[in-house]
């Protein structure tokens, strides 16, 4: 048992620092994905809420496709497809150059596309839950459409969307593990490396799982705090 704990020590003969570095990369990937995912989600939700049937159809199609595809497949399509597309485009400008898509960037793109598809449903439900009178009141006060959205509607719908978004964040955190398959040195891949050297798969994968679990639990606490803050004007009604 002590030997196993020793394997987790920091420095050159232990794997503790490598695993933590991996966990840090996992966290960075998820955090970098979040803003893109939120913006995509909000834009697609606004499309689906638009008056034009064509725009609505576009938004619905986006959600249908990226909610239906396995995340791993989306990741591969972005990673390999992006590589091929970039190469073809570069061949026009400078033939013969080789390109390699960074797996971190591919990870961000794929994960935020998927996050956006799910988040758009959450945002749409929240948009529809904010009373229509709020937008009309903003217009009556002489706010422009953008101002009304930014200052009046968004704060209200964000409060309603928060629980759903919190769940999606947890899903995102777990989905980052998939990028280990396209050779990004995240927590899971660092664990694979450690397993390859030490031949202690059960112990190391268990440690990796526990690290993911710790990140999930910390996130749950943070989301709960955020929700509490956003609901502070509603203490009586809840």
């Amino acid at each position: 048992m002590t030997e196993l704990i020793g394997l987790l020590s920091f420095g050159s003969d232990g794997w503790g620092d490598e695993l933590l570095e991996g966990a840090f990369l996992t966290l960075r990937l998820a955090l970098a994905t979040l803003p893109f995912g939120l913006v995509i989600g909000l834009c697609v939700a606004l499309l689906k809420n638009a008056e034009s049937p064509a725009l609505q159809a576009l938004g619905n199609l986006y959600t249908t496709i990226f909610r239906g595809l396995p995340e791993l497949l989306t990741l591969f399509i972005i990673y390999f497809g992006g590589q091929i597309l970039l190469k073809e485009m570069l061949d026009v400008v400078a033939p013969g150059t080789t390109v390699e898509v960074s797996s971190f960037v591919a990870g961000i793109i794929a994960l935020s596309i998927v996050f956006g598809a799910f988040a758009s449903e959450v945002f749409l439900a929240a948009i529809r839950a904010v009373p229509k009178g709020q937008g009309e009141a903003a217009a009556a006060l002489g706010l422009s459409r953008w101002q009304g959205f930014r200052l009046v509607l968004f704060p209200q719908l964000f409060r309603l969307a928060l629980p759903g978004l919190g769940n999606l964040w947890l899903v995102l955190l777990k989905d980052t593990a998939l990028v280990s398959v396209i050779a990004l040195d995240d927590l899971l891949r660092q664990t694979n490396v450690a397993v390859g050297v030490t031949k202690e798969p059960f112990f190391f994968y268990l440690v990796a799982c526990l690290l993911y679990l710790a990140m999930s639990l910390v996130s749950t606490t943070c989301v709960a705090l955020l929700e509490k803050r956003y609901n502070r004007g509603f203490a009586g009604s809840r």
Partner: protein, 266 residues
Amino acid sequence: MALNDMGPPDLKRAERRTRLFMIFLGLVFLATFLTILDWNLLERYGPRFLRGVGVTFKLVLISVGIGSAVALPVALARLSANRLVNNLALGYITFFRGTPLLAQLFLVYYGTGQFREAMEAVNLWWFFRDPFFCAALTFTLNTTAYQAEILRGAIQSVPKGQWEAGHALGLSRAVTFLKVILPQAYIIALRPLGNELILMIKGSAVASVVTVFDIMGTTRLAFSRSFDFQVYLWAAVLYLFIVETIRIAWSFIERRLTRHLRVSRS
């Protein structure tokens, strides 16, 4: 037709128009797909892909099937007043819902490889050396945790008055639970369970990482041999087709099973 299932007429029309646009866009995608489709490649890898679909279905049906049977006892354990039983179930659910499926798969497939001698001694090695069995086991454990949590929520959201009514009729607690509470809980759980089924179909793609030749595994094999990117698009179309079919079928089942709950049409 009664008034209540019509809604405002212009809203209905807008909805129809949206749907028409979606069908149109879908057809455009499909046409583009068909024009780039390489029939020679399809002839070479088509049968393999069909086998892959079979493997994906087998994986999902085994895990979701066994999972739905085991989830109920786990949900009951979560509702139990016994602290030990309750915490065990909570620990199990938290672990499998809080960690990535891929990490769980590695833990089961590679992790058990470490105990090969012990496994051989109890004659279980044939099971754990096979990636398909390991994937099926991992997915079962995973979906059980999710389904148990869905069922727990559903059972808890059945109004308390239903218990009291059962009691007032002189039914025992067990009978009340089985005949009054559980059927209503399953109706509430129907939609999230359908979502879980779809999530498992999507999630099963990670089995390809431990060399199971499901749809995704076949796709990766075909890509590594042909270097033709379109095989990924085939997989996308296949998955979308399967997921959408199940979604539509499930909502049909749901409508059918809840028809007694809607306002009666005169």
